[in-house]
């Protein structure tokens, strides 16, 4: 199986889907001539032309809305945001137009559109460029939200997203674009709504997604040195969320830690904890712990930044707490 970067896996998914279906097009800032701010769209302009790889002005609200309109008239737009931080300007279109269109039209207008781009903290970008938006987006009925952690999942989930007849939010990890991994060639589909056990274990479940999967896997390595066997469950999809996979793992380990890049208050982890307390209460041997970004805007200074982020050490410590080892 070929080894690709996360970036090139996304590129492969886009290329394959654009080859497969002429109604798929890519629109966003710098996607064409510049070859993509993060080079996800490299080579696509040359292969598909300017009609299908559309450079836009810096106008997130406007081009997100143009994507929604194009989907209303039968196309399958892929709208790239240079980062999700800028997509805040387009939330009216994502939430009020895309997510509601099918429902408020009484089922008449499907909305096969993908909104994608990098999400989560990068390195020393300070407060406005280092944010994780998944809890905002996963809150909205009418949207699907995925956040792949590996190159193979990135390809498989983006292909699923493009083929879906609903608006799908694809949150790409800004720090994951250079991550390498094996990626199946050709038709490789990861269904939306299914979690994946990235590492099996018996003592504690680490529930994570996107960039925090690597954090949890490192924590699992550290815990193994202390004879703790951690299971790592990658949610992959945040709406719908694979409740069965979460519950199956907790039934096995009886203990859980939820890890995310976002802030703690009303975060994704809060939803996971709700699922566990509701449906696995009797199986729990300890209260569920959460590891999140510190409840502050991201600072610029690298020591402060490190202190703000979820880390393998913080996850391992939380795991020891649910095991009453410290």
């Amino acid at each position: 199986m070929p080894t690709l970067t996360y970036r090139d896996a996304l590129n492969q998914a886009l290329r394959e889907e654009m080859q497969r279906d002429p109604s798929v097009f890519l629109m966003g800032e710098e996607v064409g001539v510049y070859q993509g701010a993060y080079k996800v769209s490299r080579g696509l302009l040359e292969e598909f032309g300017a009609q299908r790889v559309v450079d836009t002005p810096i106008a997130e609200l406007g081009f997100a809305g143009i994507g929604v309109g194009a989907a209303m008239a039968g196309l399958r737009p892929v709208i790239e945001f240079m980062t999700w931080n800028f997509a805040l300007l387009a939330l009216d279109q994502i939430i009020n137009s895309a997510a509601k269109m099918l429902f408020m039209s009484g089922g008449q207008l499907r909305m096969p559109i993908v909104f994608r781009g990098p999400n989560g903290a990068a390195l020393q970008l300070s407060s406005q460029h280092s944010q994780a938006w998944e809890s905002w987006l996963a809150h909205i009925p009418g949207l699907k939200v995925v956040a792949p952690a590996t190159p193979a999942d990135a390809k498989g989930l983006l292909k699923s997203a493009i083929r879906d007849n609903n608006p799908v939010i694809v949150l790409e990890g800004e720090m994951l674009y250079n991550l390498k991994g094996e990626v199946p060639e050709g038709e490789h589909i990861v269904p939306i709504g299914r979690a994946d056990v990235k590492r099996e274990g018996t003592d504690v479940t680490l529930i994570c997604h996107s960039k925090t999967v690597a954090v949890a896997l490192k924590a699992a390595d550290q815990l193994a040195e202390q004879n703790v066997s951690a299971e790592v469950v990658d949610l992959r999809s945040l709406r719908p969320m694979d409740e069965a996979a979460i519950l199956a793992s907790v039934a096995k380990t009886n203990r859980a830690v939820v890890v995310e890049e976002g802030w703690p208050h009303v975060g994704i982890g809060a939803q996971v904890v709700d699922i566990i307390q509701r449906d696995a209460f009797d199986q729990l041997d300890a209260p569920v712990q959460r590891v999140t970004q510190a409840d502050v805007p991201m600072p610029y200074n690298k020591h402060l930044e490190r202190a703000a982020k979820a880390s393998p050490e913080k996850v391992a410590a939380a795991a020891r707490r649910v095991l009453y080892l410290e």
Binding site: P57, I66, G69, M104, L109
Partner: protein, 326 residues
């Protein structure tokens, strides 16, 4: 079929009938609202009939129209059955959006009426997106987009006009300037009070149109349609009109922001009276034909109310239908 320029006598009579239908429908809507049969926000079109009728009469059946929340009139002109519109206002299962959209979200995708949208200006990029899809698919349809003058202060308006012009999209922006955004006179909140001037910023064709004269609106739209079909050139039409009623049903007739005298003065230019008098002078119709037409329309509106009254509420299971498509 291409709409004739100038409009034939036959078409003028059709336009008169369409305006009268909107007037009588809206009068009945106000009545039904007062009786509690219609809930929520409800924005009437009385006074502005010439805008919807003049512009939409210049379209083909396969062209697109999209509007704001003051869209009952436009839906009727597009051919959405009055019963289906009234049933939607009543929240019934037989409504054109199955009772889930209500007054602000009338949809009929089959008739290419792409909705009533409730966020001021939010649908203007959608119109550009529909036109983008037309061009992408190699069609020669146009998309007409209705919005009030208050939407011109919203960023979405400017982003959409810019991209429509850069990409030469076949869209006609119809600004229905009724002088008040809710209770705020346009000149109190707009530095440029001739909306038509904004077209200069986007190198776009534009016309200022008397919105109380349906034939003027028709002819201006007809010219814009031709530009759009030929080369995909967008147009901004500023149509000066006036609403006789409050902003919504919860707003008194003239309120504190305008005088009763002003409203009465505007009514002297009533679009229906103007066209009826013209057609009588030209001996195209006489008073008895006019009375007969009004009688027929009364019957149509009564039948619409009866249909809405007799229709069932949506099945409780509908609550969870159409959130996501298969």
């Amino acid at each position: 079929m291409t709409a004739p320029l100038p409009p034939t006598s036959e078409l003028q009579v059709t336009m008169l009938r369409r305006m009268l239908l909107i007037r009588r429908f809206e009068e009945k809507t106000a009545e039904a609202y007062a009786l509690g049969k219609i809930g929520g926000f409800c924005h009437l079109y009385i006074g502005q009939e010439a805008v919807a009728v003049g512009s939409l009469s210049a379209l083909r059946d396969d062209d697109y129209a999209i509007s704001s929340y003051r869209e009952h009139g436009q839906a009727l002109v597009r051919g959405v059955p009055p019963g289906a519109v009234m049933a939607e206002l009543f929240g019934k299962a037989t409504g054109c959006s199955k009772g889930k959209g209500g007054s602000m979200h009338l949809f009929d995708a089959g008739r290419r009426f792409m909705g009533g949208h409730g966020i001021v200006g939010g649908h203007i990029p959608l119109a550009a997106g529909i036109a983008f899809a037309v061009k992408y698919q190699g069609g020669d349809q146009v998309c007409v987009c209705f919005f009030g003058e208050a939407a011109v202060n919203i960023g979405a308006f400017h982003e959409a006009l810019n991209m429509a012009s850069v990409w030469k999209l076949p869209v006609i922006f119809v600004c229905e300037n009724n002088r008040y955004g809710m209770g705020t006179a346009f000149e109190r909140v707009a530095a440029v009070t001739d909306v038509v001037e904004h077209a200069c910023s986007y190198d776009m064709a534009a016309e200022m149109v008397d919105g109380m004269n349906v034939l003027t609106v028709y002819e201006a739209t007809r010219r814009a349609v031709e530009r759009a079909r030929k080369g995909g050139h967008p147009t901004l039409l500023e149509v000066r009109t006036y609403r006789y009623m409050g902003h919504s049903m919860s707003d008194p007739l003239h309120g504190v922001y305008r005088t009763k005298d002003e409203v009465e003065e505007q009514k002297k230019k009533d679009p229906i009276t103007q066209l009826a008098e013209k057609l009588k002078e030209e001996k195209v119709i006489d008073q008895s034909a006019l009375d007969a037409m009004d009688g027929e329309i009364h019957a149509v509106v009564e039948a619409a109310v009866k249909f809405a009254d007799d229709s069932p509420d949506p099945d409780p299971a509908e609550l969870y239908a159409d959130v996501l498509a298969d």
